[in-house]
Every structure is written in structure tokens, then in C-alpha cells.
């Protein structure tokens, strides 16, 4: 029989209760007559503090509080792909459905929804065992496989901390709750559970050595993210955080995408829901939605569930990583998660730290980002999997000196600084070329896989842009006339790099995704132009003549090249540049 306590205080999402002597930290409790879901976040004497994941309107002193006896967990198993959940993994489509009308219940109501499980209990899967009775298995070993989508083999693993001898196996059609393998007589199902606040174990972390390719030139060429690494995208409102996250979710070469809409707009998730099923993953020819899991806790949904949504998402990501997949997780926005933490902390009357955030903010952030990684998975088959994290940050007033940006910076390996001024001029993606950086050394990979001088081109471009920035400062003071011709050529080329290479519309059919080879050829043409022009200047050509070259218009349209023809196009354009400049 579960213990029943009683409410003594209600302040927004925070409820204090007494009469639950056996409560444990992070246990789930059900609060009040509507059985609102809550989580124990503090124990103090005989008082239990709970953050409630639903609106607490109407809750009274004396209302009952029932222990669930378990921590906040997610359900793991086939059927997650293509789903959309709220911050505590309730299935939003099922919640919107009433009788025959799939949207008959368009508003999220409170309570009574514990009855809707995250994973469909009726759906039948074809389980193909990979073990036989008598076989000894350990944590992480593959027990069998379910084709979750046409392309993804969902590996059913021995859960962490379990081992034993297979005593019975059942092949064929099963639901997630039916046993498929018995370990020493104990049944295991496709459905497993894991507490969200605890990271899932692995053998060891490996150094990130390969990039997560995004098809975005500013990212892959200048500031690449490693598979298993972490990146942050801070930027004021309207600078392109969400578009960047969604674009990466569409095009990144990951097996699985976990997209967390954390305290942001409802319509942005609708956007994903409408667009992703219609887009085809070029690697599998399947709808993109089939590799995507959405966690949606929009800004008007209860604030405490926003805090939980990040953990729900990362736990699901780790679960697929453990099967040996590459997972990319986007969290938009981590600032809303931090603010949820602050709001709850404020109601707890904790001692506030910087800007009212609790003192444990940096620890929590670090714990979250540390759940990224390329790892050797548990299990005897040497699987390698990864979770890459891309966290958007929404600094107040667009000022990066605030705590969430600063603490995230200390942990994340890649920093894509979005710039308000660039966004206002509609330079997208508004990734600032001198403020952004990556700590991952991936040049070797690119040199081997794309072109031997990839890294050389990258360094050339970064140096050129830095030089351009310095020169522009001088121009702002004294005008361009004061510069030498070679310096003015840097301004010209710098502009080409910015406008014709770095700018990339997420909404252009051709340019939204740019393969690595095309990225390389585009930049190489600009570099070639720069060299040809410099030779011409030394021969006595004027900068005005150069600014009037017809080939500049062709350079501006490189982005529209068919990727398959990029090499040939680049070669032709180099020739055209040489030809035209030779007449100066």
C-alpha cells in the first residue's frame, strides 16, 4: 500500500507536503485529487518538497499526495522513433485525441493522463532473437533485433547491471510488454525503463575523431562539431537558433535525432511535425520523421516539466547510443531549462547565485553536457555509439556575459556565436566568424576524406576573415582610400567569403544542404580568385577593374551548383576567372 501524505503549502509549481517518511529524492508522487505528476526535489525533516509537472491551480492544503515508489523514468523500446512526447514523456498525439477525432482535444488538460503510456501497448513487433537458451550474456549484449523502421534495427539489449544465462527465448510477433527472453528464468520484455536523471553506463568514452556533418558551410568548413561532441548556439531572439537547430536536425548525418523543444514556441514544433514526415532522408530514402523523436514542452506548458524535458530527451538519446547508433540531440533552448531551474529554486527560497540562478546551475549544466560522447558501448560486440549535443542558448538582451552562456562555454567544444547585427542584415546563418570557435581537431579527417588541403583552406579562410575585420576597422576610421591595393583585395575577397560562401539559406531547395565536396570547391574557387587577382594587382591592374569583373556574378551563384557537378563547375569557373583577369 502506497503512503499517502498531505499538502501543507502550494506556491506555483512547488508543493510542500508532510506525512511521507519513506519518500526518496527524485521519486514521483501524485498530487491532489487530479493526481498531478510531481517529483520529490527536497527532503527536510518530515517535509517533502515536490515540483509538479502540471498546473497546480486549485490545489489545497490537506490534499493527498501519493507515492509512486519509483523515480522519474522514461519508457524505452521500439516505437519511440517518429513520436512526440511532452517533457515527462506523455504522448501528445494520444492526448489530443478524443474518440474518433484525432484533434478533438486540442488543449492539454491536467491529470488523469498517467493512463496514457509512452509506448503503444497494442502495437506488435517482429522480434528476431540473437541468443539461444544456455547462452551466458552480460549487460549490453544483444538479445535480439526488432526492425523499428524499414532502416533501423532496434537492438534489444541486456539491461545495464544485468547478466545471466538465457533460459528461454521467444521469436516472432510480440507487444512491448510480452517477454521475449528469460534470463535465469526472469522474463525480459522489449519495454525497458530508466531513471532520467541518471546517465546510462558504457564501457568507456572515446576521443571524438570524426565530424558530425551538417551540410552547413559555416559549420562544417569553419567550426565543425565532432560526433559525440557538444556545441552551443547562443544568440539573441531572431538570430537563427531555431532555424539552425532544425536545419541540423534535417541534414546531419546521424542515425537518430532527438529534438527537444524546451520552453519555446508551439508553432515551431508544429513546423517540424508538418515538415519532417514530408522530407526524405537522403541516406535511407525514408521520411525524416522516422529517425526523429520530438520532446515538446512549449513555453506555455508547465514550467517544471520543462526542466525534466532535457533529461527525458538525453536518456532516450543514450538508449539508442547504447545500441551502437549515432544520435544528435538538439535542445532549444537550454536557457529556458535554466530558467525553470531558477523559478523552482526561487520558490524553494534557496540562496540565489548570479542573476538569481541557483548555485548548482553550473554543475547541472556540466552534468547535462557530459552526457554527450562517443563511447564504447556495454556488450561483447565492441559497438561504438555517440550522442552529440547541440544546445541553443537565449541570453537576455543578446548579451553573452550572462551565466548560462558563460557556464555552457566552459563545457562545450564548439561555440557558434550568433550575431544580432548579422541577423538584422539577413546574413544567415548568423554565425560570427571571428567570435565562434571549435576545439575539435578534425582537420585530419577532412583531409583524408574530402581533399588533402581542406584544413589548409580552412585556415586560409579564417585568417582572411580576421584580416578583413581588422581592415574594416581602419576603413571605418579613415575610409577605404587609405588602404593599399592588396589590402583592398582582402576586403573584396573577404566579402566573397562572407556573402557567397558563408551565407546559406535554410529555405533554398538547392542550397539548404551543401555536401562537403561542394563546400570545398566553392571555397577553393574563391581562394583561387584571390590569388589570381593579387597577381593581376602586382601587374598593375586596378581594384576598380577587379570589382567590375563579370565572373563575380558567377561566384555569387556557386551556391546553386548541382552538387554532383561541383567539381566540373569549379574547374570551369577557375578557367573563366583566369581568362577574364588576364585581359586586365
Amino acid at each position: 500500500m502506497a503512503e499517502v501524505g498531505s499538502v501543507v503549502r502550494v506556491a506555483g509549481p512547488v508543493v510542500v507536503a508532510e506525512g511521507l517518511p519513506r519518500a526518496r529524492l527524485y521519486d514521483v508522487v501524485y498530487v491532489g485529487p487530479l493526481q498531478l505528476i510531481g517529483e520529490v526535489i527536497r527532503l527536510q525533516g518530515d517535509l517533502v518538497t515536490v515540483q509538479v509537472y502540471e498546473n497546480t491551480s486549485g490545489l489545497q492544503v490537506g490534499d493527498p499526495l501519493v507515492e509512486s515508489g519509483a523515480p522519474l523514468e522514461v519508457e524505452l523500446g521500439p516505437g519511440l522513433l517518429g513520436s512526440i512526447f511532452d517533457g515527462v514523456q506523455r504522448p501528445l498525439p494520444a492526448m489530443a485525441c478524443s474518440a474518433a477525432d484525432p484533434f478533438g482535444q486540442p488543449f492539454v488538460r491536467r491529470g488523469g493522463q498517467t493512463a496514457l503510456p509512452a509506448l503503444d501497448r497494442q502495437r506488435v513487433w517482429e522480434f528476431e532473437p540473437k541468443v539461444q537458451p544456455g547462452q551466458a550474456v552480460a549487460a549490453g549484449d544483444v538479445l535480439g533485433v526488432v526492425m523499428e523502421t524499414a532502416h533501423l534495427a532496434h537492438r534489444v539489449l541486456v539491461p545495464p547491471r544485468r547478466a545471466g544465462t538465457v533460459t528461454q527465448v521467444r521469436a516472432g510477433r510480440v507487444t512491448v510488454e510480452e517477454p521475449v527472453v528469460w534470463l535465469d528464468g526472469e522474463p525480459l520484455t522489449l519495454l525497458q525503463r530508466w531513471p532520467v536523471r541518471q546517465r546510462r553506463p558504457f564501457v568507456r568514452k572515446l576521443d571524438p575523431t570524426e565530424p558530425l556533418i551538417t551540410g552547413q558551410r559555416a559549420i562544417d568548413m569553419l567550426f565543425p562539431l565532432a560526433r559525440g561532441g557538444s556545441a552551443i548556439i547562443p544568440g539573441g531572439f531572431g538570430t537563427g537558433k531555431t532555424v539552425a537547430q532544425q536545419t541540423i536536425a534535417k541534414w546531419a548525418d546521424a542515425d537518430i535525432i532527438v529534438y527537444i523543444g524546451c520552453g519555446e514556441r508551439g508553432n515551431e514544433l508544429t513546423d517540424v511535425l508538418e515538415e519532417f514526415p514530408a522530407l526524405v532522408d537522403p541516406r535511407t530514402n525514408q521520411p525524416l520523421m522516422q529517425r526523429t523523436i520530438l520532446i515538446a514542452n512549449t513555453s506555455n506548458m508547465p514550467v517544471a516539466a520543462r526542466e525534466a524535458s532535457i533529461y527525458t530527451g538525453i536518456t532516450i538519446a543514450e538508449y539508442y547510443r547504447d545500441q551502437g547508433y549515432h544520435v544528435a540531440l538538439m535542445a532549444d533552448s537550454t536557457s529556458r531549462w535554466g530558467e525553470a531551474l531558477r523559478e523552482v529554486s526561487g520558490r524553494l527560497e534557496e540562496m540565489p547565485g548570479e542573476e538569481g540562478f541557483p548555485a548548482y546551475l553550473p554543475t547541472r549544466l556540466a552534468e547535462f553536457y557530459e552526457r554527450a560522447g562517443r563511447v564504447e558501448c556495454l556488450g561483447s560486440d565492441d559497438r561504438i555509439g555517440s550522442v552529440s549535443i547541440i544546445g541553443a542558448v537565449s541570453p537576455p538582451g543578446g548579451d553573452f556575459s550572462e551565466p548560462i552562456t558563460q557556464h555552457s562555454l566552459r563545457i562545450a567544444g564548439t561555440f557558434w556565436a550568433l550575431d544580432t547585427d548579422l541577423a538584422r542584415r539577413r546574413h544567415f546563418p548568423a554565425i560570427h566568424w571571428t567570435r565562434s570557435y571549435t576545439l575539435y581537431r578534425l582537420g585530419g579527417w577532412f583531409n583524408r576524406q574530402v581533399a588533402a588541403d581542406w584544413e589548409d583552406h580552412r585556415e586560409w579562410a579564417l585568417a582572411l576573415l580576421q584580416r578583413e575585420t581588422d581592415l574594416l576597422e581602419i576603413v571605418q576610421l579613415v575610409g577605404a582610400d587609405a588602404l593599399a591595393p592588396a589590402e583592398r583585395a582582402i576586403l573584396l575577397t573577404g566579402r566573397l567569403v562572407r556573402e557567397d560562401f558563408l551565407q546559406q539559406s535554410a529555405f533554398d531547395d538547392v542550397d539548404a544542404f551543401c555536401p562537403l565536396s561542394k563546400q570545398y570547391h566553392m571555397l577553393a574557387v574563391i581562394r583561387h580568385f584571390h590569388e589570381v587577382v593579387n597577381r593581376a594587382l602586382r601587374r598593375g591592374a586596378s581594384i576598380e577593374q577587379i570589382a567590375g569583373l563579370r565572373c563575380l556574378a558567377q561566384i555569387a551563384r556557386m551556391r546553386l551548383w548541382d552538387p554532383a557537378e561541383a567539381a566540373a563547375q569549379a574547374q570551369a569557373l577557375r578557367a573563366a576567372i583566369e581568362e577574364e583577369v588576364s585581359h586586365l
Partner: protein, 499 residues
């Protein structure tokens, strides 16, 4: 002006369910005289029993006046109550408090159309009480993102800076960031009068009217400003399709926390139950945020940036996110939110948090205003995030996106050069640079500036091409060659100013 003393509209009906999830009798008669503390807009009542968080409260004065309040916190036998009409004149000894056992509700009905109500929803136009078809919790419920229909129908406002560059769509939430003395109200009224949806034939069946119904929420604005809007609605014939909620400058400040909620509850009813397209105008949200801050400081909460509460983002989101469309339902709620940026500072928490929630923003500029540009919209910091969904072939025109991008690119360049010219003089500029500079001027004078004119989107785009024609084709990097061939007027590259 406040008639809060008569709880006519906000329900006390016994037919109503009590607090959600319980069947406590709603005729509660216990009155408490156990006030221990009054501070700012807050009352602290002790030795209470069975009080629910968020529940509404009647505060009874010895004069017979009744003020409405709401429970902000319950802690054992103590309740913290915020009083919407303020605590002025309340005493600890002779004030009585009655807990109503229900959350704040508003009676909504079709006969609200054409009516003027107070900031908490009571008729103040001398007309009869509203016949409530339904009583609704004014806090509403979050729309399940799965059930949202993505807004995508182009609204023509007749204003080039909006239609051409920051297109509004039905179901969008778009604020106007203004400053004291800037004509945000005029702009909002012009939009309300001119807004129309094109291609209305393809309308989902069941919509009762193509025209917008207007729900107007005045938040602490002056009588003069409120009557400006009323007159405008009258002139454009929108008044009988409008509901006005007025909390004026001299009305109780804390009541402002109710006003947008009452307005949005009405809008949701008209849109999602009655199938109307509703335009909600809320002005001035800055006053709303001040009220929020007042309550927070009275509660001695840890303040966030510049003294505004840390939960202001969430609070504003629960208002702004009540815009949109719902699958399978014909109506829509479009929000036009006006706010004043203190010190014209766009990084101030009020515009900042708003911009983080809304689907773009229209930013007014003091500089353009001084130079007589009407409307003085600075397009660079302005944005419509839903523009892409609402434009293009079949909606506006195929060249729309690239024309907008090109205008932005040229104008941003021209604006940069203005700074440079201030230092080195115009003569020092190259021919190309002088062209950008001249473009920026004409763009402001001819494209942004339009006074009372109502331009179709085609007129707006044609005007854009006329201005773009000042540049050589090779410069128009943002536009595909075939579009240039199709739309570029064959004008001499340097056409003379006209106006």
C-alpha cells in the same frame, strides 16, 4: 471607472463546477476576518481552511464594496491574496475575506461583440449584462502542439514594410516595439482597418466571416488613446465586430493582470468555438509587465533582470502562445501586441522576453519618425518568422522572397555607409557605394513611407523592383536571373526622384 464592486461577469454562479477535481459546494459562506498583514497589492489571511491555490476571493469592505482577489500561495493555514483593485483603504480589523472555491472565470457569449467591458470583463457601456454561453477559466489551457495548424495565410495589411518585408499571417503573434511618442497606435489601427486575407474562396468551410473580429485590450493606456481606437473601429465599421476590454491609466494596476487573459479567453471562444478570425490588439504590454513587477516585489521574490520577476518569460508566454490555429477548426487568433521600449532600449526585459516568444517583431524608429517617415518602421531589426509560410506563388508572388532579401541586403549596406559618410564625407565614396547610399534614402522615402496609402502586395513588390532597378543586374545576387528577367522594369538605371 472600475465597477469591480459588482461581480456580474466573473462568475459566482452555483451552476459552475467548483475547483477542478473536487466537488466542494460552491456556496461557501465562511468569511475570514483574520487579516494579519497588508503590503502593496497583497493581503495575508490566517487560520483559513480548504483554500485552493489560484482560487478567487472576495474582499469585503465595511462600506459594502467588494473587491476581487486571487490566491497566490497557501501555506498551512495562511493564504496570500493579491487584490486586483488594490488594497487602498483596507484595514486589518474590518476587512473580511471570502474564498469562492473556484478559479477566475469569464462568461463568454456572442453578444459580447460590439460591447465595451472593464479590464476584468464587466460591461461599462451602460448596456445589459452579457449572456454567458459558457464560463471559462481565464487562464486558458496550453494548445497541444500536435493539434496546432501552422499559420500560413497571408494577411495583406496594405503596408509595404510589413507586407513586403515582414509579412503577417493569420494566427501569428506579432508585437510592435514602440517608444514613447511613436505612432504605434496609429499603425495598429491602420492594420486593423486594412487587414484582409486574399484568396478567401479556399476558406475552410464553417468560417462565419472573412472579416476579422477585433478583441481589443487596453492595458493602462490613457482615455485619449482608448477613444482613438474606438473611433477608428467605428469609422472602419469594425465596432460591431469588436469587443473592447478597457483598463485605463487610472484603473487599478493589478487588474491589468486579468485584462489580457479575459480578452484572450474571449478571442479563443470567438475563434475556436464560433469559427471567427479574431485579431487581438493588446496595448500597452509594458504596463502589464509593471503590474507583474509590482506584485513580485510585494512578495519579496528574488528579482530577475531590472527587478522584473524571473517568471516573466513564462507569464508572457502563457498570453502570447494563445494565438494560432487549431486543426480541424475554422477560426484563428492573431495577436498584435504593442509595447513601449523603456528608453527605446530593445534589450530591456520587456521587449527582449517578448521577442523571444512572439513570431517576430515590428520595430519603430525614433530617427525615421523625426524624419517624417510614416510608418517609421525600421526594417532591419524587424522580423516576421512566419513570413516564409505566407508568401510565394499562389499566396503573394514568386519573386517575393528574393525581392525582400535583396532589399535587405542593399538597404543594410546603405545604412552602414551612412555611418562612414559621417566620417569621411560622401565624396570619398566609390560610385558603387554612392549607389547604396542613394538607395537607402529612396527606400525610406518611397517604400517605407506611405502615409495613409493602402497598397496591394503587387504594388509593394512593383515598387520594390522600381527601386532595385537602380542597380546593375550583376549586383542583384539574391535574385535568380529568370526572376530578374521577368520582373525588372526596363527603366534607365538611374531614374529621377519622383513623389
Amino acid at each position: 471607472m472600475s465597477s469591480l464592486s459588482q461581480p456580474v461577469s466573473v462568475s459566482s454562479s452555483t451552476a459552475q463546477p467548483a475547483l477542478p477535481g473536487r466537488d466542494r459546494p460552491s456556496l461557501v459562506t465562511i468569511e475570514y476576518r483574520t487579516l494579519t498583514h497588508i503590503t502593496g497589492p497583497l493581503l495575508f489571511v490566517e487560520r483559513v481552511q480548504g483554500v485552493g491555490y489560484d482560487e478567487i476571493v472576495d474582499v469585503l469592505l465595511p462600506t459594502g464594496e467588494v473587491r476581487r482577489g486571487q490566491v497566490l500561495e497557501v501555506n498551512r493555514d495562511r493564504a496570500v491574496v493579491q487584490v486586483f483593485a488594490g488594497t487602498r483603504g483596507l484595514g486589518l480589523e474590518d476587512t473580511r475575506v471570502r474564498f469562492r472555491g473556484e478559479v477566475m472565470r469569464l462568461g463568454v457569449g456572442l453578444d459580447m461583440l460590439g460591447r465595451t467591458l472593464s479590464g476584468s470583463g464587466l460591461p461599462i457601456d451602460g448596456g445589459p449584462p452579457i449572456t454567458a454561453q459558457e464560463w471559462r477559466d481565464i487562464n486558458g489551457l496550453p494548445i497541444n502542439p500536435v493539434a496546432r495548424d501552422h499559420p500560413s495565410e497571408f494577411i495583406q495589411t496594405g503596408i509595404s514594410a510589413i507586407d513586403g518585408l515582414n509579412t503577417l499571417v493569420r494566427g501569428q503573434k506579432l508585437p510592435i516595439f514602440s517608444g514613447f511618442g511613436l505612432p504605434a497606435n496609429e499603425l495598429a489601427a491602420q492594420i486593423a482597418a486594412q487587414a484582409r486575407v486574399r484568396g478567401a474562396e479556399e476558406e475552410a468551410e464553417g468560417a462565419v466571416s472573412q472579416e476579422f473580429a477585433v478583441v481589443f485590450a487596453a492595458l493602462g493606456i490613457t482615455y485619449r488613446e482608448a477613444s482613438f481606437f474606438r473611433r477608428h473601429f467605428e469609422e472602419s465599421g469594425a465596432l460591431e465586430r469588436s469587443v473592447l476590454f478597457l483598463n485605463l491609466a487610472d484603473d487599478p494596476t493589478i487588474e491589468r493582470l486579468l485584462t489580457p487573459r479575459a480578452a484572450l479567453t474571449t478571442a479563443e471562444f470567438l475563434a475556436f468555438d464560433q469559427g471567427m478570425h479574431v485579431l487581438v490588439i493588446m496595448t500597452d504590454m509594458t504596463n502589464y509587465c509593471e503590474a507583474l513587477r509590482e506584485v513580485s516585489s510585494a512578495r519579496e521574490e528574488v528579482p530577475g533582470r531590472r527587478g522584473y520577476p524571473g517568471y516573466m518569460y513564462t507569464d508572457l508566454a502563457t498570453l502570447y502562445e494563445r494565438a494560432g490555429r487549431i486543426r480541424g477548426r475554422p477560426g484563428s487568433v492573431t495577436q498584435l501586441i504593442i509595447l513601449s521600449m523603456p528608453d527605446d532600449d530593445i534589450t530591456h526585459p520587456i521587449p527582449d522576453l517578448t521577442g523571444y516568444i512572439t513570431e517576430g517583431q515590428i520595430v519603430l524608429s525614433r530617427d525615421l519618425h523625426r524624419r517624417g517617415i510614416r510608418p517609421p518602421i525600421d526594417v532591419l531589426p524587424s522580423l516576421s518568422r512566419l513570413m516564409n509560410a505566407g508568401i510565394g506563388p499562389g499566396k503573394t508572388r514568386e519573386d517575393h522572397r528574393s525581392v525582400a532579401d535583396q532589399l535587405y541586403a542593399f538597404y543594410a549596406q546603405g545604412r552602414d555607409l551612412r555611418r562612414l559618410v559621417a566620417i569621411v564625407g560622401e565624396a570619398a565614396l566609390s560610385r558603387e557605394d554612392q549607389r547604396y547610399l542613394a538607395f537607402a534614402g529612396r527606400f525610406e522615402q518611397e517604400f517605407i513611407h506611405q502615409g495613409d496609402a493602402n497598397r496591394s502586395v503587387e504594388e509593394t513588390l512593383d515598387l520594390a523592383w522600381k527601386l532595385l532597378a537602380a542597380f546593375p543586374i550583376a549586383e542583384m545576387k539574391r535574385i535568380k536571373p529568370e526572376l530578374i528577367r521577368r520582373y525588372l522594369p526596363s527603366l534607365p538605371a538611374q531614374e529621377e526622384e519622383e513623389d
